[in-house]
Symmetry: C2
Subunit: 81 residues, 2 copies
């Protein structure tokens, strides 16, 4: 089973990387870009474990290891059964 | 309109960050994790432009600015009309 976890800054947190990318895109002529937020993505391959277990442990380790819950939020989904 | 672009290493490219995350998760007892690949995600807010234009320019600037096509691949989708 494969899961995808997206980690990004909370909306209230400044994102200087995203800002830099936005400025670079503007300089290159892509002026229609209003905002860029950059984050991390983790694609994780799991051994066969029950789906209920996946739904328990993925948010657990995402919160503990992948995201810093003070400034970041995460979302996740199963991308391959 | 909002688009999400996922950038990750090509499968043939080593991903030391993902490896480190995998090892950390194993150490914490999540032994059922087979593999971790880490990448970047960009969530981009666009001014109102025609959808056909979006489909032309997003892959263009993703390839030019966001991903290094020698070692990285990207995928993208519209997440908000």
């Amino acid at each position: 089973m494969k899961v995808r976890i997206l980690v990004s800054f909370k909306n209230s947190v400044l994102d200087p990387q995203g800002q830099t990318v936005k400025n670079a895109l503007h300089t290159l002529g892509y002026g229609f870009i209003k905002d860029v937020r950059q984050g991390k993505v983790f694609e994780i391959d799991l051994k066969e474990i029950p789906r209920s277990e996946v739904e328990k442990v993925v948010p657990e380790f995402a919160d503990k290891v992948l995201a810093n819950p003070i400034i970041e939020k995460f979302s996740w989904q199963i991308i391959e059964e």
